[in-house]
């Protein structure tokens, strides 16, 4: 391959155009509240085909998982039998508390709060084949009432939030996605009578733990304490279960504390989710 002046000029111009397009579009999507109509149409069409393609792979995956789960069943069964009685007792307690909460809200004339939210179920049809861009594509969008920044949960806890939404599909940025333009998740740790607010600012891939810093106090945190969304910032509702405290360590400079959280949800194995469509009195 020979290089002459014209070819070099075309190469340089192509590089400039490519870099401009990549950086420009990244900045645009980071700031835009919605996506252009053409892209929405393209995303809907792509999601339609994606659903068709994902059907056989999902069946294959379910079969493989069933086989893997079969080996774990006996051990799990023993463990779960012990918990069933406790769950029944907890359910009765929750019902009583819910009733009491409703009555107290009525007394205080509180119609809606950040802990009230409605959900819609969705199926994961695709996942970005990339090592850092942890995004899922789900089969529900604007038509189902999903908006940008809507929290996404699986059966065990918070997994992320909607970053882009089209009519029939949405892109979900996982809680483990720590890219520069990804919004941080404000959470709180409840340790005994102490509540500590902070922001999830990192993810340790090897230990599968979220890192919480910018803590509001330096109080002592117990291992195993519950972590939930704080509702601060107004994007996520309060009280979505995130996980449990795995450890508390000093940060890289030894000045502040960092809390390591084991997420409740298995972020590597998500097949169906719940999208929060309404929070409080929206």
């Amino acid at each position: 391959m020979r290089f002459n002046g014209k070819k070099i000029l075309i190469t340089i111009a192509s590089i400039i155009v490519a870099v401009g397009l990549i950086v420009g579009s990244s900045v645009f999507y980071g700031r835009a509240s919605g996506i252009p109509v053409i892209q929405r149409f393209a995303s809907d069409m792509a999601a339609f085909f994606g659903r068709g393609v994902s059907a056989p792979t999902s069946v294959l995956s379910r079969s493989t998982n069933s086989l893997t789960q079969l080996f774990k069943t006996y051990e799990e069964n023993q463990h779960l039998v012990k918990r069933v009685d406790r769950i029944a007792a907890d359910q009765i307690r929750i019902q009583t508390l819910e009733k009491e909460n409703k009555e107290l809200k009525a007394n205080l004339k509180l119609k809606n709060s950040l802990t009230d939210y409605q959900t819609v179920s969705a199926v994961v049809i695709s996942r970005t084949p990339s090592s850092w861009n942890s995004q899922l594509i789900i089969n529900q969008g604007i038509n189902a009432g999903i908006k940008k920044n809507a929290p996404i949960l699986d059966s065990r806890g918070l997994i992320g939030k909607v970053s882009q939404v089209s009519n029939t599909s949405s892109k979900v940025t996982l809680i483990s996605n720590m890219t520069a333009d990804a919004d941080r998740f404000p959470v709180q740790v409840n340790s005994g009578s102490t509540t500590i607010n902070g922001v999830i600012s990192g993810y340790n891939r090897s230990s599968d733990q979220l890192i919480l810093d910018e803590l509001s106090t330096q109080s002592t945190i117990k291992k195993g304490s519950l972590v939930q969304t704080s509702g601060l910032g107004g994007i996520l509702p309060k009280g979505l279960y995130v996980g449990r405290v795995a450890s508390v360590r000093d940060d890289a400079y030894g000045v502040a504390k960092q809390i390591y959280i084991r997420p409740a949800a298995d972020l590597s194995d998500i097949s169906s989710v719940l999208a929060v469509t309404q929070v409080g009195g929206e």
């Binding site: 391959m1 490519a18 870099v19 397009l21 990549i22 950086v23 579009s25 990244s26 999507y29 980071g30 892209q39 393209a42 995303s43 792509a46 999601a47 085909f49 994606g50 068709g52 393609v53 994902s54 792979t57 999902s58 294959l60 995956s61 493989t64 998982n65 994961v124 049809i125 695709s126 996942r127 970005t128 084949p129 990339s130 090592s131 850092w132 861009n133 995004q135 899922l136 594509i137 970053s163 882009q164 892109k171 720590m178 890219t179 520069a180 333009d181 993810y203 891939r205 090897s206 298995d266 590597s268 194995d269 998500i270 097949s271």
Partner: protein, 181 residues
């Protein structure tokens, strides 16, 4: 391989079949990642399915690129990937184009054998994932070091995808012959 004659069957025309296959492969990559993410990501290791690139390699290697507007379709594939999976336009478009061009330049100099094709695919994938890393830096998405990325993601990804390419080499060669002749 004689690829001069083109199938007259309406739905077997290379100009229809190859673009459709390549587009489907883009969705297959994502659905494989969603369905088997537990197997594909473990501890620090991540294996990224890239059947689309394998399809691109077969298209160039078996000279099927002469039967349809390959490079234009490649632009469309890259755009589709960016729009569907990412939050920036141009990353995968550039990566697919340049890695395909690398294969296009390299392939005629490599012996026409299965084992040799492993190295062509590996080189193409190395170019592909290097470009993805560079574009990731540009958009501020990269959160791992280059060394970790190469060791824990790129090399296992290249190995597995090149292995898949070798396994399907003969069946795809036969299929290509049927479509092109």
């Amino acid at each position: 391989m004689n690829n001069r004659h083109v199938s007259t069957h309406r739905f077997f025309r290379p100009a229809i079949v190859y673009p459709v296959i390549l587009i489907v492969l883009i969705f297959v990559d994502g659905s494989l990642m969603a369905a088997f993410s537990g197997f594909l990501s473990f501890a620090n290791w991540t294996i990224l399915p890239n059947l689309t690139f394998i399809g691109i390699f077969y298209t160039i290697h078996f000279r099927s690129d002469r039967h349809f507007h390959f490079w234009w379709w490649l632009v469309l594939l890259g755009l589709l990937f960016d729009l569907y999976y990412t939050q920036s336009i141009g990353s995968y478009l550039t990566a697919y184009l340049l890695s395909a061009y690398t294969v296009f330049l390299l392939d005629p100099h490599i012996p026409y054998r299965i084992l040799s094709s492993f190295w062509t695919v590996a080189t193409g994938l190395l170019v592909f994932y290097s470009l993805i890393y560079i574009t990731g830096i540009l958009t501020g998405e990269v959160n791992i070091s280059l060394v970790n990325y190469l060791i824990f993601t790129v090399f296992p990804t290249i190995f597995i995808n090149s292995l898949i390419e070798m396994i399907f080499y003969r069946p795809v060669e036969s299929l290509t012959y049927i479509i092109n002749s």
